[in-house]
Amino acid sequence: MAEKRKKKLGIKQRYSMLTRGLGWDTTYQDMDKVFPYDNYEGIIIHDWEGWEDPFRLTMDAYWKFQSEKEKKLYAVIDSFAQNNGHLGITDARYVNALKLFLTGVSPLEYQAARGFTHVGRHFRGVGPRVACQMQAIDELRHVQTQIHSMSHYNKYFDGLHSAPHMHDRVWYLSVPKSFFDDARTAGPFEFLTSISFAFEYVLTNLLFVPFMSGAAFNGDMATVTFGFSAQSDEARHMTLGLEVIKFMLEQDERNIPIVQRWMDKWFWRGTRMLALVAMMMDYMLPKRVMSWREAWDIYFTEAGGALFADLARYGIKPPKYADIATKEAEHISHQAWHIFYNYTHAAAFHTWVPEKDELDWLSEKYPNTFDKYYRPRLEYLDKEEKAGRRFYNDTLPMLCQVCQIPMGFTDMDDPTTISFEVSEYKDDKYHTCSLGCKDIFDYEPAKYVQAWLPVHQIYQGNCGGAEIPDVLKWYNFNLGADNMEYNGSPDQKLWDEWQAHRKKA
């Protein structure tokens, strides 16, 4: 390019105009009163100007790029709906992954918007405030675009009609909900460590990237498009996550142990929540891109390994229990699917035993565990179902006091023994699913004894009534349509009719 356009200011200068000199020290009120939250966690900041945002996005550039993203996305969503894009997906079983996404993940986008709006007010440094405010707007965009995209599926499939209502009440949705509740009720630095660093930098790759690629593979144009549109913001959020960590670590060495503890905690909470995604990838995508185990190897072992090697210069170690989480990658999707298979009469999506070629795929991808522990159980359940004895578990499970997952996960070295830990606090016993969750409980028991545990709440009579159907009505489920086995469901019936029409045509 011979004649380069000359912008008056370079990217660095434009960004510093946005973030430097805009703030001021208050004089009518004490600064600590104006910003009451940014030092009680013990994080010591000497110089807020030390904050560097690697993406030096100014407000005008932000609006320009975001509006372009929205235009592209809405063109696709609109044509997907107009052209009956749902007919092009591989199989109706796939839609169950979307049900879990809409009820479990999309409300987290809204929680993120609330969280970043809050902390975007409460840092006294201008750099982090600008970054958090932009992110709050992004997160609002994510929840809106996800609802718009999936609303098309709601016209035809069950279980997509009451996502926010369900998110606040349903037992398995308390897993992601409590994750964000925990983060939002922490201080602003812990919030950024939990959401921006542990969740977005370390774990979102595992959540969004392979799953959205899976959506592309399964013909779901709407989901791929909102997924990748959200991820384009996520790349910026990830750098915020890494930046806040480096900022805290560079400001004062007394910050190091605090940051390490938060990393250990939020890594563990994150991996627990991702058990839901593991089973979406291994069981709910009719055409599979990669197994959960492979995704773990690429995104945690390799990408996370490089990241933590980089942070080692600050004295940061890889998260505690990362070795256990890596062992779990061989088991967790199978165990999570089994829990939902047991309780699908109380869930707003269907479960099933995978077909033979799908079981073969799992055998191939999990040579160490699947044939030994999980395949025989699935084949047994399949036989029972075909004989008209579809198994449903009628007792309510005990939940982990921290991650709120039913305590069905096993010891990783002995996958026939259920793993659990016990803590005592003020003469009461509290149960957790793992050493990771026990550590979290033991450090802040006064916080976690307040957990709203769905099973406890049902037994205390706070969830619509004493019988399971009462509870499910309180959840806003359409009984017999949203819940139960996939085989014989209204979703399946409709899908089979469409396929029959297609054959005739």
């Binding site: 380069k4 990217i11 690697p54 592209k72 392979p210 384009s232 990408a303 980089d310």
Partner: protein, 90 residues
Amino acid sequence: MSRVVSITLQNNDDARPIIEAIEKDNPEATVNIYPGMVKIDCEGRLIIKQETVEELLGREWDVQELHLSIISMGGNVDEEDDYFELSWNL
């Protein structure tokens, strides 16, 4: 210990010249193709040069247009007027 930096871009028309430019300027990079996306890994560092993208595209290209195509990445970011670089401290 692996020190791989990584960038994932959409596999679409906007991103194609960027992917090509990365291949040109980072000969050691590995390009992995997945449904809907392309993940490019490179040991230590990876650079996207404005000049190369503009040559391939035949028009002016603002480095921040990358925001429209990026899906994910790993590495410390250095963004300037004429390049975008990912690296780990070696």
